[in-house]
Symmetry: C2
Subunit: 714 residues, 2 copies
């Protein structure tokens, strides 16, 4: 036993002796953290395991996830206990070590199973998940989506799938250009004489920037550049460019690459910058599934550019799913800590301080976040289904098919829905992580609680693969267009169903006789329908007014940005509530009562947070709104009763949680202290000892003047 462990053991023994001594004096005994946790588990009125199966989509999938968690925990390259202390270089080394392990599964497992494995990994090491995604999701995804079948076979034969002989990255964004892909500056000029493209970076702002995997590890990239043939520009297309020799790893001629360095989080990814200086590649390295350039320099453009959007949507759907999963992890940590942490006491007669979770305000801080995690979980499941359906349609539809219009409508809807939800869910979850961190009080500032790193890792979701503000505005634009279609008599899809009932909804108030009748799924759903319809109408009317003033549509959309943003946000709240309510209806009977409570809480809390709109459009009267506010507290208290079983149902192992304050058994202090001592051994190095010693022992104060012993000397 080490000295520190011994001293801790001694302290514990003393603690227990003291408790025993108290017991002897017949004072009431205080509950240990473990006991404090156990009593929460006894409160469950539902079968926790059954809820886990329901969340996972069935017992079979729960077992697969548990298998993955065990495999990861026992894999030394996936050790996590020291992750909050590793340096940027160390974490990058780990990332490549993990690559080696995971490459084994990518070819051995069917895609849906491997996807579940990666989803499990995303929860514990989002940096690795992304680095891996750069190759398989972005680079390989671009090949699959934009290469002709013979091009695709060529790159697979070079090792793009097996990751044997090459590893790729995705060079889209530039230092001066992010969301506006059409505005990229890098050029790909066709040189007919040599049958080559010349890839070139014309300016500093054209430097490829943020390119994951470029700094040290990628051998090839899919580069986005302006296609120029015979002096004519054809817009941004993609080209495979080799960056490094695949054996020596020296840069290819004309390639200049650097590390973009330290980031807010996800330092396991070696993001880099790339400059191309007249780099020549074969013409056939242009990915030609859509636009083609022939040997003679003829450019053939595709009939339907929209069909290439599929890949963009995939990333957004993954982020909606990730929002639910990470939200669940954050709530697990904050929730378990709140069950054992005690502070102050509301009665002078209490034997022991009060649990955090027994304070009304703590319930108000945490229970809505628990409800949100559930809401986003079910939203993620549904969004994934929407995406899978779309992909099926896209694969089975050929240009010219009768079903083409239906497919395009589905594409438009899925594109807008996933854009809006990506923004809404990632923003809300980022806020939830920080809110959870703050509920830990001072301890939330320790890296070992995991929530600071979680925040820093998660934050990137708000700005990458479509900046959230831009996506929200796109979603608002979609809503305006649906609104205008609805006015013109076209029936709108389920996601914006409220637009099919504008006549009745716009002026509808809450027609209940008693306030208690508000506590009804249909009423809450109607409330969101009415308010969303009004907010969308407001955006649509603003847009129309600008058109009537003679603005072009782009300027008119720009003018109503604030209204578009509000419309998209309110729409998302209502949409997510509906997904949750549907999930409750489809749940096994034994789970419905508890899930209904959680769902009510989500609905009522969201209404309270947006009270201004519900009062503005007079759906609720001020007194009904007071009732809603009061009911938020009531439901916080209700959900609090079984909140630990609700958290347990997420079924994340302690390894996955990787936070001593969120351990299953509740023994938080001992485990937190253990981790701190393991990572910072007592008596460890003291790198600045001489500095302090010399600071404290300044024998001659250096600003003390010499005595001026001969003042009149000169």
């Amino acid at each position: 036993m080490s000295e520190s462990a011994a001293s801790q053991r001694l302290a514990f023994v003393q603690n227990h002796l003291q408790v025993a001594a108290c017991a002897n004096q017949e004072e009431p005994r205080k509950k240990t953290p473990i006991e404090s946790m156990n009593e929460e588990r006894e409160k469950a009125t539902f079968d926790v395991r059954e809820l886990t199966y329901f969340l996972d989509g069935g017992e079979k999938y729960t077992k697969i996830r548990e298998k993955f968690m065990m495999e990861l925990e026992r894999d030394p390259t996936f050790r996590m206990y020291d992750m909050y202390d590793v340096t940027k270089d160390e974490i990058r080394v780990r990332t490549m070590e993990k690559f080696r392990t995971i490459v084994h599964y990518v070819s051995a497992e069917p895609v849906p199973i491997f996807t579940m494995r990666m989803q499990t990994i995303s929860l514990i090491d989002p940096g690795f998940w992304t680095r891996f995604g750069v190759h398989y999701g972005l680079f390989f995804g671009a090949l699959r989506g934009s290469a002709t079948s013979s091009q695709f076979s060529h790159w697979v034969s070079k090792g793009a799938l097996a990751l044997n002989g090459m590893v790729g990255c995705f060079a889209m964004t530039e230092l001066g250009h992010g969301s506006n892909v059409a505005g990229l500056e890098t050029t790909a000029t066709f040189d007919e004489a040599s049958d080559q493209f010349i890839i070139h970076t014309p300016s500093v702002t054209a430097t490829k920037w943020w390119i994951g995997g470029a700094a040290h590890t990628a051998t090839h990239t899919v580069c986005f550049a302006q296609l120029i043939v015979r002096g004519k520009r054809y817009g941004t297309k993609s080209f495979v460019v080799q960056l490094r020799d695949t054996r020596t790893y020296t840069l290819m001629p004309g390639i200049n690459i650097g590390d973009i360095g330290k980031k807010m989080g996800r330092d396991g990814i070696d993001n880099g910058w790339i400059q191309f200086t007249n780099v020549r590649i074969p013409r056939t390295n242009m990915l030609m599934k859509h636009t083609k350039v022939s040997r003679a320099g003829e450019v053939k453009e595709p009939p339907m550019a929209q069909l290439t959007y599929g890949a963009l949507i995939q990333g957004r759907v993954a982020m909606v799913v990730d929002s639910g999963n990470i939200g669940k992890k954050a709530v697990t940590i904050a929730g378990r800590y709140a069950a054992v942490r005690r502070q102050f006491s509301s009665s002078p007669h209490d034997v022991q301080e009060t649990k955090l979770i027994d304070y009304a305000i703590h319930q108000y801080r945490l229970m809505p976040l628990l409800a949100q995690a559930y809401a986003f979980h079910f939203t993620g499941v549904e969004t994934q289904k929407l995406y899978d359906d779309l992909m099926d349609k896209l694969e089975s539809t050929q240009p010219g098919d009768a079903s083409m219009q239906d497919t395009l409508d589905t594409l438009k809807e899925t594109h807008a829905t996933s854009a809006g939800l990506k923004a809404f869910c990632t923003w809300s979850t980022l806020n939830a992580i920080e809110a959870c961190r703050q509920t830990l009080g001072g301890h939330g500032y320790s890296a070992y609680t995991g929530l600071a790193t979680m925040y820093n890792d998660f934050a990137v979701h708000c700005t990458w693969e479509g900046d959230n503000t831009i996506l929200t505005l796109q979603s608002g634009r979609y809503l305006i267009s649906c609104y205008r279609e609805a006015l013109a008599g076209k029936t709108q899809p389920e996601g914006v169903d409220y637009l099919n009932h504008l006549d009745t909804l716009l002026t509808q108030g809450c027609a209940v006789k008693t306030n208690e009748e508000i506590l009804n799924f249909d009423i809450i759903q109607q409330a969101w329908g009415v308010v969303t319809a009004n907010v969308v109408k407001k955006a649509g009317d603003d847009f129309d007014a600008s058109l009537k003033q003679g603005m072009n549509p782009e300027t008119a959309y720009e003018e109503c940005s604030q209204a578009r943003l509000a419309a998209a946000k309110i729409h998302s709240f209502g949409y997510v509530f509906r997904r949750f309510a549907q999930a409750v209806k489809s749940a096994p009977e034994g789970l419905r009562p508890i899930l209904a409570k959680v769902c009510f809480l989500y609905g009522l809390y969201s209404i309270e947070q947006n009270a201004g709109f519900f009062l503005q459009y007079r759906y609720f009267t001020p007194s009904q709104m007071d009732f809603v506010r009061a009911q938020v507290n009531v439901y916080c208290r209700e959900v609090r009763q079984e909140y630990i079983p609700l958290i347990d149902a997420f079924n994340y192992s302690d390894y996955m949680i990787n936070s001593p304050l969120g351990v299953y058994d509740g023994n938080v202090y001992e485990k937190y202290f253990d981790q701190v001592k393991r990572q910072n051994p007592v008596g460890g190095p003291h790198p600045y000892l001489p500095l302090i010693q010399s600071l404290l022992r300044r024998d001659i104060e250096d600003d003390e003047p010499l005595e001026d012993d001969d003042e009149d000397d000169e």
Copy 2:
């Protein structure tokens, strides 16, 4: 010239050649980032320098601040360019190096000037500011506030002021106990025989935790422990305990100390944990200004415990001031970038993409944050005055004086006001930093933009020196007590003046004939008064209702937590608006028009964000609220016109901003690229090269089975 600099220069030359080429073709020339910035400065309708003087409190103070900025920039120990890349150990070494520099000034400069120096430092290195504050604010502050004059002289003679021979820390919080100081477990038992106290840590949860400076650097601590004399407990008192030999730095007998390790931010502070095992200290090491223990073991308790609260308030006031300052820094970075970054274009005829700041939505994201930074600046100035007045009163009032009640009222008011504002301003500023970071799009995720580190450093303000939620609830409790006093006819102080007009305010609506009349300081102030009065009344009524149900006051307060939180939040908005409006009135005439616009924006935006309450209490009608929403956009556009001059008036040098995206001249891309290359040299070390090479060259796939050449062998 280095290779990378040369290649960058080349790229630049190419860029300029290209621009020149375009010019030759008579295409309209695009504006450079520097030109884009310059044109913003030309828009100023006010004297920027005059505004700086006004913000700083006069030209004299601006010059002092500029002197400090220059001194820091030229001081090698305060070099900042590499701060986003240093490790925990390195930053701690730097912190101690800075100590050496700053100790020189602490004795040479008058306190108000030195405070200004430290305020300047807090903006560029909050970790060092805190570490220094641990000794001078907390340790030395505790001596000054709780030691008798002879005890104080003793510790000064030992070097506590000059930091020569000792350096201190402040051991209050424990692993299991934070905000509830009365619940601390560490004991100080008087041993009459030896005339000593025995300081002891009875359990793991009693381990002193988060103690800044304890891990490696403090020689002494002020330890908070339960005073036990002759078996009787007297509550938490403070004791000076030596931790380390001041020459060898070895731990004193009975002391066990460790590093608590990695934190979310401020890693320059060596926070540690301390366990005391029967550590004996002289009786006279107890700080006895208030409670005294005599040689014979007689305990004399002070007549007025409240008078010891002063020190707590100081930290909170500093955080209100810091909120304004850090908010200004965040807005400087995001604001300058928005003036030069271009993205998309709202018209197909534009020569160049549109500046971010010319998008309505970007104005809506940034301008309210600029307004908030101004609002918090003026709030900080006023809160500091309130605090200084209180200190004057406390120092001039003796127990028994006729003015004692007035002093206690001021103490109560300042305590509640600073608590509420600390929570409100730090929460709002933390959100503002993240919002600013997100306006940078993808680049916001780079460490070099400074905003990620700013977020991580600032976040601690929300939980330390009074957790924000607890402080907000305290502020709500104060408001309820003022409300009850007002009902009983007692006139309330200026901060809660609205409670003196409950009769008229509670049911008042906005009595304007046209919507335009809303744009009036008195109306906006009245709006906040009406809504705050109602929200406070709601909390007070909830409290009363609980009392009438027979609850004790503590339980009744607990029951109305949600209403208390809402009351304190709304009160803070109104309070801050009033501080801002008063500052506008006191501004030089030439500055009033622009400041009035910024102030209106703050008022209108805050109303929009809290629309639910303004509609709930029917101050505004839904159509008036629509007008307010529309005016937020109008004022965003108005303030946007001169927003760069408004930012320039903050007068932070590039060194202070320490973000290439926030540089004064607007040359963001070149400076960002320079910083990335300086910190991550091209061709630098590649720590995981062999790992990748072996990954990509797996000659034998290890999961390929051996051929089973003799199947029937057995």
